[in-house]
Subunit: 359 residues, 2 copies
């Protein structure tokens, strides 16, 4: 890893200032920068400051509303649809997640479907916010179509992640945050850049057949759903992606399936529309809505220890607990700084030149 | 298929009478029989009347309480933990599911974690009950350990299914009901009976290494999580099984992970206990808690049509909608009767002899 490292504080300050320069109110800019940096700290570079340039581009070209009127469009004590008014997903997401937790405070749980939003960063960020309030947090989002349904030969669904977190008492929390495709598109890009082939389980070509050529994916193919084919449970990955699309897109009236707009403004837009913007779904459940919180958390500790004590498979160190890798990354990067590739640093330098914000 | 066919009505009547004979109150027996037969009608024979003999055995040997005091142990307006008092899962499940829907009626959504229950049949049964009340239904359950966590070499988690259903307006509903392992244990049993090998993606041996010998699974190996290995997303299947175990087992204080009791009384019991009985988790969300119900259902129709219109992969008829196969089975079996193997018929004959209930 020869990438240069930058302190989280420096990147946070810069990101914040860039968002303010793009017209985002101070408080929202600070939240949005926090979401992006959480991703870099947790080692998910693909969703972090590497995207700042594109977020800014969307703000500058007017595709995203810097001062959205985020509001509840419809509600009950424990549910609501939130209208994001085409704001930055990094602003709409945290607001909607807060509403879910506030409802949970009063009604025991809160469930928020969001329309008119944009890409919200990592789903894991949202579910971890619930931990401090002794809640179990849920988050899902749909995304632009890269995945074929099982037995399909075209892109119809996003990598549609599911996240959920459970607090431990003395143990760190269990934090699940997973795409519902076999792999994220990023892995295809890495193989393309390196001129390598991919395993035949990751993607299909434009006929819907397994391919080992990563160029087939942007060339008219698609990512495979988790499980890959029928024999190995590809219908289950498709079901999960469908569930997320129905909860995040169809339920609130956001775009869904093939109509979810691309993250990259230069890719153009789908011609047809299924609704407003991108959709999310957040949940929060008060742990003491089910029983004494400390008793639950102490049982989570037992569960974690039990899984760690599982007999290791040959050639491995044994099972991890969901969230272990990201937590280790956060610890290491908080201490030593966040490594950024030369290409990402170049986009930050360009942003600095364009805006006059010192990097 | 040379199996003899029996009308659903006949099997329902018999099942009902057998449960009553085993000491279950009339109303509960009727509900329980309905859950079992729903499984046979939907083509999931493994969870249907084929299990009646064993359910009865558990009642007769006193391992299951025929007249449980099912009650709310802890609650908020939208959440509760339900104590199943060691009742039949086919009785406790429907009761808890009803409580979830009743809470949703008042608070917008209802979320019920259940302890002290037993195997509840197919998860799909529960989520379909919500459709008639214009709700989105969720159901999960843990189950006795057959699955290894990724990088583990022993059984620590059940096949822990996730189910959710969304109503259409003119289209039939989307009904998702999926185990979080690559395959159910039933597929291993079929291969064993036929002396066939299994694909290397389904299971691991006692060293945690892929195996094609189905005898390795009961012999000390385990089923693989959905995704199988790290390269193909096996950590995601493990995450899903963990999520279900934490929500169904750890949250309400049921047994979890390796401590979930076996369905088969003759298998004995885990020595250590993690809590009470088996655990479930039910959710119900009023659709009009998010917006006008008919608008949502008409968007579901559009979503279904769009997925059906996906370009088919070579050699296939194109993607199905989750629930298609089970609905077709239900239509066909309602018309022509439910096929039962000679072995299952023999268990029903034996039950009839033992109890005097005419089959």
């Amino acid at each position: 890893m020869s990438d240069k490292r930058f302190s989280a504080e420096r990147l946070l300050r810069f990101t914040n200032a860039i968002f303010v320069d793009a017209g985002i109110p101070d408080e929202d800019a600070s939240v949005a920068a926090g979401v992006l940096l959480a991703s870099d700290l947790r080692g998910i570079e693909s969703h972090g400051i590497a995207r700042l340039f594109h977020y800014t581009e969307m703000l500058h070209c007017g595709r995203v509303n810097p001062r959205p009127d985020i509001h509840i469009a419809h509600e009950t004590p424990s549910t609501a649809t939130v209208e994001g008014d085409n704001g930055l997903g990094l602003v709409v997401g945290p607001r909607a997640c807060e509403i879910a937790m506030d409802k949970a405070e009063l009604a025991g749980s809160g469930w928020i479907a969001v329309r008119g939003s944009n890409h919200f960063g990592i789903a894991g960020y949202y579910v971890m916010r619930a931990l401090a309030r002794d809640m179990i947090g849920w988050a899902m989002t749909n995304a632009s179509p890269w995945v074929a349904p099982l037995w399909g030969a075209e892109r119809r669904l996003g990598t549609n992640p599911i996240a959920i977190a459970f607090p431990g008492l003395k143990e760190p929390p269990v934090v699940i945050d997973m795409a519902t495709s076999v792999v994220a598109y990023g892995k295809i890009e890495i193989a393309r850049r390196n001129g390598e082939s991919i395993p035949p389980d990751w993607a299909v070509d434009e006929l819907g057949q397994p391919t080992t050529d990563p160029n087939e994916v942007p060339g008219g193919g698609a990512l495979a759903p988790l499980g890959t084919d029928r024999e190995r449970g590809g219908h289950k990955g498709y079901c999960l992606a469908a569930m997320v699309d129905l909860l995040t897109g169809v339920l609130p009236g956001a775009n869904w399936g093939p109509f979810v707009p691309s993250f990259w403004p230069r890719n153009g837009e789908p011609e047809q529309r299924g609704g407003q913007g991108i959709g999310h779904f957040f949940g929060a459940m008060r742990i003491d809505g089910f029983g004494p919180a400390d008793e639950f958390k102490s049982r989570v500790d037992e569960w974690i220890k039990c899984m760690r004590e599982t007999k290791p498979a040959a050639g491995t160190d044994g099972p991890l607990i969901p969230g272990d890798c990201e937590r280790e990354s956060e610890r290491e990067r908080s201490a030593n700084g966040i490594p950024l590739s030369a290409a990402v640093v170049a986009t930050l330098d360009e942003l600095s030149r364009k805006t006059g914000v010192p990097f």
